[in-house]
Subunit: 663 residues, 2 copies
């Protein structure tokens, strides 16, 4: 061992956030804080100093933030990310001799000891510092040293030596020869704000035609934009818009034989008319698509496309790149299956092909093609059936040049696989939310997502339904179930999504009892929806989305806290901004069939509410206002009227007649 | 990215045990298991196989143990360490094509599908395997393939293809081209058994003289050996036996001025008569010491020496190596201090010296010197005041050639520093046990030590007292307090220690109220102890240590579990062997002043006791036997008789008249 190694006496360990030993980045959006903690230790009794260093990945110069000690050798500091892209952070720590000397001198003086020798030792530390400082600082230190030396009165001498500004200067210019650098540089992926806060609407373009029986077009989608914008969604996601295969095309309700007019599943991508870079001719062309992008933007809506890396048997790749597919002993291409289920209208891509380089380049070119059209959001179909390393590579490649791109991972699979995909770089992820219905289930699941380290890399996007998923809760609970669930999704999650118009029209008919498939699923046929149906929740959803936009507390997830209610059917939680200027308390009746009431416990003090003073709760859904006294309050919810309260809490400002809502 | 990287589809993560991302080794003793778990993931639906690889550090060939899947993508395997030294372990995992194919074939058959094509695909997998197998195996596979191909009857053909032995062969010889190797090789330090199970006795040799006023010698220690052996201790630790400095020598009760006859503190090491490699002339010489080592061994006792790397002002190092010390502006050497406290009889070594290389070599030579005399256990004084990297280097250097050496870390300092020292290689560590007296304190502390990852690297040695520490509990509680504490230490900890004869003679006089210092401390004067005092706990301690030797459950820590008792003064816990053939249930009355009784809850089923059947509890301290029915039982302890039960639980073997204690 080199002796200098032993002179690096400080140890930095147990750094948070740090994902899998630094193997994966954490995620933030522009403007957010990165709060870093570490255990920082040294032998003996010396005092330490530590800084958090950070920079944009492509820059060379570090910025520094001071780390402050907490308790039990734990330290904390933070920085704010201000630009999209990647940031790097790490730590430095060192024995701070002057700080130690100063503390000890104070102790000696308190104990009434003679300290002239100790003052001389402090002088020596200042003298030692001078050569390593820039001219300006060296000059000041020289003056200080002379001043202390010149002072004859011991009390005044000591007072000079203990001056705060001297201590600060000395700390800034401490001996760094044996500084400890934390052995890892950790990464932050910084996304734009939509990565954190977004409301998604999924819709089949082919069902958008005005006239019954017609195949909807991209142009028809334009006409639908005001409707979507009025509901308050800001991302419009379209299932694949590419040509659909003929061979083994599926018929209505997933029947193995398609009728002559059946349009097939949009996920059976590719035909003579093209593949992943083409638009299905019945939908329109690239010009139509670009126009839709522009029109959507004008409505505050961003388009998201589907990346489904699989092919119909008629996809051009099948002929042009047979090696990208598995072949069976009889020479035919292996179709998709999950034995004993077969999906003969789909050929999965064989990512273990010997021609991986070409394959990867082509798939990347698909993403770049749509980026060139103006798309910046992709919903990725079944990423868990493609190799992890492929995604790690692809997402890094794309985000290097287009850091503003958002990828949503549609992996409904085992939890650790979902987390792994998020770690590899997916911006947002589908969750199990659709199947979490009871108080216990929701509390457990969101504690895992939002109160554990998972939140550093996994951004939940809470989907209420999808073309594949009509949950039992929605099938059984009627309109109140749809209302309760949309409030939950929109307030538990800063990002959520619905598949419409099925959702807002409360479509609850499943293909059969025990199935989560929709009856007459749009995956296999064109549907016409009556958007003006009296059951429609469009206005309710519009209100919910407006509440989200107007309350910053609902625009991020980390502040989520659950609170006790004495009724198993009532769920209560708050979100708040860091400065507690916006606090939203939501109560949802999870039972869509019966009225429930119960006493809930608001942690008033934690939320910055003055103890013993009344506070106002303002239900942003009904506009009702209540005056609550103390933490314990009664609520009651009739699901047939509205199954939820979304209260804004307003604290007392000066007197009981002077709440801030008067202002 | 190389395409082959993407073909390594399997991911191995969240491996346990793994300390700080593999930066530090775990610890075991010979014969113990290393149970390894990992999350092992792959995209899609393929089945995996995984092996745990392990080897002695100096060997090249890996041994392999099969990893078995648990739930939620978690896998587990284990190996046993059989020799002292270092072991290495890591993991491999791969997509197992044949296993996947076999599972899918079974599913298809269950679903009644036509499978001839699938059988052909399985045949292909066998054919592909042949070229990568050794001749013998290749021959068998060839035969199997021919046999399957030759069989005309499809049912029989399938049965052949699904044969277990074929599956095993194919798994053993699976395609390893795209195998995933876990990216870390993790280390195990394997110690001898005493590292885990030891009973220490600390004693000042100079107080061992037969005649009052005489300075005890190493020879006198010999005479004390039968006494120590009868009490059942197997490590005898002596404070420093080196020459003691004269300058600033401390007098009785730590007075700054020593009288002419005061012997000084043994930790003020070094004088004209020598330093760390010398023996204090009044104690004897090296021959005496070697004789003591031999005699001790004959009594089943191993000697432990103190490594206190610090010097008196008269130590030869001070003249010979002035650069190993800090100097004050007036040219004097800086004495030890923790402002405002001063320790002028001690010069700390300056580990930041420019001459670190020489210093380190010299300190290592001190350890080797005593190893050459036959010492294999060192108690290290205040390791937390020397650099971490020094210990990391020293312990590795010594253990490379002498892996049987045991180092006990005497660091009473902040918890993370204590853990760091253990990670760096200390075999055992002092703990906060002496100050943990209430049920809550003990339960919390031992849960941290024994039920968390801490147990992988930190082996607690529970000291009841030391020459510096006479706890308030012992000062106030009288003889019952000493009895309760020794039972706690000896049954909670597989390793524990006492400083005697102060402990067994229930010495409870502190220097002053509020101090933990002994009155008339042996650190500063020679004491004479009446070993035959009627208060002596020597027989009680002998019984406790016999119980430890006779009950394997008490010889390791990991099985420790606390159980509820409905009385805050009663603490109840069990330890058991892995096979549950030995189960010890201890109940201690923590209140040394009053009798307490309460209902306790024995987790009978967890401990392998037949539910609904009576079981015998045999108090190994009093030899009383009770028959208990069911998990809930009443106990009562009068501290003036005995403050503890140490029950051996004996399960029913056949009938209620046929317990195993009849055998």
């Amino acid at each position: 061992m080199k002796e200098d190694q032993a002179r690096k006496r400080v140890v930095v360990e147990a750094v948070t956030p740090e994902i899998d030993g630094g193997l994966f980045p954490i995620k933030r959006v522009v403007g957010e804080k990165v709060q870093v903690e570490a255990d920082i230790l040294v032998d003996g009794h010396d005092l330490l100093s530590s800084v958090l260093l950070y920079r944009k990945e492509e820059e060379k110069e570090w910025s520094a933030a001071v780390m402050e000690p907490l308790v039990n050798d734990r330290w904390r500091g933070f920085f704010r990310v201000t630009e999209i892209g990647n940031y790097i952070y790490t730590l430095r720590a060192w024995v701070d001799r002057f700080k130690t000397w100063r503390r000890d001198l104070e102790k000696r003086i308190t104990a009434g000891q003679e300290v002239s020798m100790n003052v001389r030792m402090g002088m020596q530390l200042i003298e030692d510092a001078i050569p390593r400082c820039k001219h300006e600082v060296a000059k000041i230190l020289r003056q200080k040293a002379d001043q202390i030396r010149g002072e004859k009165n011991m009390e005044k001498k000591i007072a000079l030596a203990l001056e705060e500004d001297l201590a600060e200067l000395m700390s800034l210019h401490a001996e760094r020869r044996f500084i400890t650098s934390y052995d890892k540089e950790l990464k932050v992926i910084v996304d734009r704000e939509k990565a954190r806060f977004s409301a998604w609407y999924e819709m089949f373009p082919r069902s958008c035609a005005d006239n019954a029986g017609n195949h909807g077009t991209i142009k028809d989608c334009e006409a639908r934009l005001p409707y979507i914008a009025e509901m308050g969604f800001d991302v419009l996601y379209l299932p694949p818009i590419h040509p659909i295969g003929i061979t083994h095309r599926k018929g209505k309700n997933n029947s193995p034989e398609a009728g002559p007019k059946d349009p097939g599943s949009p996920w059976a991508i590719g035909s003579d008319e093209g593949g992943h870079k083409s638009i299905h001719p019945q939908l329109g062309n690239l010009q139509d698509f670009q126009r839709l992008l522009q029109k959507a933007r004008a409505h505050g809506i961003e388009m998201a496309l589907d990346l489904a890396f699989q092919c119909s048997p008629d996809h051009p790749y099948v002929k042009e790149h047979p090696h990208w597919f598995r072949h069976r002993p009889d020479g035919t291409v292996q179709y998709a299956e999950n034995p004993p289920k077969k999906y003969e209208d789909i050929y999965p891509i064989n990512f273990e092909t010997d021609q991986g380089q070409e394959l990867f380049a082509e798939l990347k070119s698909v993403v770049l093609f749509w980026i060139e059209q103006g798309v910046r959001i992709f919903r990725v179909d079944n990423p868990h059936t493609k190799p992890f390393r492929f995604w790690e590579w692809l997402l890094a490649e794309v985000k290097r040049d287009y850091p503003e791109v958002i990828f949503l991972s549609e992996a409904f699979t085992r939890p650790k696989v979902m987390y792994r995909l998020a770690k590899l770089g997916f911006t947002q992820s589908y969750t199990y939310f659709a199947w979490r219905n009871t108080k216990w289930e929701i509390t457990q699941y969101f504690s895992e997502l939002i109160q554990s380290q998972v939140r550093e890399f996994f951004r939940p996007n809470l989907w209420l339904n999808t073309p594949d998923i009509l949950t039992e809760y929605l099938q059984m609970g009627g309109r109140p179930a749809f209302m309760a669930r949309v409030v939950l999704a929109a307030t538990l999650g800063a990002s959520y999504g619905i598949y419409g118009p099925a959702f807002e029209l409360c479509e609850d008919r499943a293909k059969e009892y025990g199935s989560e498939e929709y009856l007459d699923s749009e995956k296999y046929e064109i549907r016409r929806w009556n958007l003006d149906d009296s059951r429609s929740l469009k206005e309710f959803i519009a209100r919910v989305n407006r509440v989200r936009r107007e309350n910053q507390a609902l625009q991020s997830d980390w502040s989520l806290r659950f609170h006790p209610v004495e009724n198993e059917h009532l769920l209560c939680y708050t979100k708040n901004t860091d400065d507690q200027s916006n606090i939203v308390l939501t109560v949802v009746n999870l039972d869509p069939h019966h009225t429930h009431g119960g006493w809930l416990q608001v942690p008033a003090e934690e939320l910055g509410l003055e103890p013993g003073q009344p506070f106002q709760v303002h239900d942003l859904l009904s506009n009702a206002r209540f005056l609550w006294h103390g933490p314990r309050n009664y609520v009651e919810l009739n699901p047939r009227i509205c199954p939820a309260y979304v209260f804004r809490l307003r604290r007392r400002v000066r007197t009981e007649r002077d709440f801030d809502y008067f202002m």
